[in-house]
Amino acid sequence: MFVLSGYEYLLGFLLVCSLVPALALSASKLLRPSTRGPERRTTYESGMEPVGGAWIQFNIRYYMFALVFVIFDVETVFLYPWAVAFHRLGLLAFVEALIFIAILVIGLVYAWRKGALEWS
């Protein structure tokens, strides 16, 4: 039925897990009161009248972190097969990984020196 054995459980469990929030939300829908008033639905801003919205142009300081994250996340994905097969690959694989990581470390040092990792 499935080429990869054991993965039918993943699909099944995904369905079972998706039922949890669905059931929780629908059970609450049946039980909870629903009084609607305009004040009730205003945005919370420490009890003040909200000034403007939050959907504005906004300086996302984490942007650089997100870019660096993508690089290193892909790096770890590349390293996983290497780590699993390492016992069969020996010294050469070690040297290769060393070069691979060295290039990325240079990238990290560059980002660091350029101030991409600074919170300012």
């Binding site: 990869l4 459980y9 290193f72 097969a85």
Partner: protein
Amino acid sequence: MNQGIDLQGSFVQALIDLGIPAGSAKALWLPLPMVLMLIAATVSIFVVVWLERKISAAAQQRIGPEYAGPLGTLQAVADGMKLVFKEDIIPAKSDPLLFTLGPVIVVIPVLLSFLIVPFGQNLVITDIGVGIFLWIALSSIAPIGLLMAGYSSNNKYSLLGGLRAAAQSISYEIPMALAVLAVVMMSNSLSTIDIVQQQSGHGVIGWNIIRQPVGFLIFWIAALAECERLPFDLPEAEEELVAGYQTEYTGMKFGLFYVGSYVNLVLSALLVAILYLGGWDFPIPIEMLANWLGVSETTPWLQIIMASLGVMMTLFKAYLLVFIAILMRWTVPRVRIDQLLDFGWKFLLPVSLVNLLLTAGLKLALPFAFGG
């Protein structure tokens, strides 16, 4: 290595003996471990909430919950019931679809991760090849839900909280994945069962915490950051951001965030126990004990006792870590956002890279001690 008891095999065989075709017998088995695991996860929320409140109270010399049930054990149930009955408020200026999807996307991957948590040799929903890697992948879905919740609320506190949450989890995900890599390298497999197998048989000395002390610390710190536990609870820092991305949430949608964060804490503790503390393995080698008592390891009653004790052992290790996490909440002051990011990128990331390369080097030099 003994095989342990095979519940699935016995169950399916018993049904086949009753005259049910093999295909339907297997289909009948399929939902059982899943439902059991979900029930266990739900119960663990109540246990952890109660522990959190009682231990917090003890740390502050209060009594804590005491009226709902004996010693206040039903307090979490009462809280949960309250959330179900609460009105669901969707802010007028928000995006209703994303607002509802946010908590759902946060909670599903956390529950789904229990797929690969083993409690014994065969006591796991499924032992798939990618194992721990599935969890790494699933744990990176949660930030999407957090960003969704933060952005869709159209609230300044929520937006800041959501952005902080996303930045925090992506910053600590890399050191965590690299720490897991070192463990994977030692066991030559991504399967959680194999990872525990590789540690078992020698008692405490065989556990990864001895060979990977740095990795253990990195993983634990990163796990606390991913769970937004107190030294790193910036996304919902009450003093600064009201409740972060949860500010506009009420009722069951808030409850889903709550469930997600507590299940995530239990899950992280379980994974630390599995990756570094030998999972269901005993501190004293069981083979040695069995030989000393003069019973064979394959005796059925011994197998059953060992399997049950193994489940207890896993839970005991996990709850010990939960206890440490709760104590840390009242011991360690909250970090600032720049300190948090600096710590993740400028300290944990280089250290975890060095740890990985050191493990690889040691594996080449001393293959017998590092899983050859």
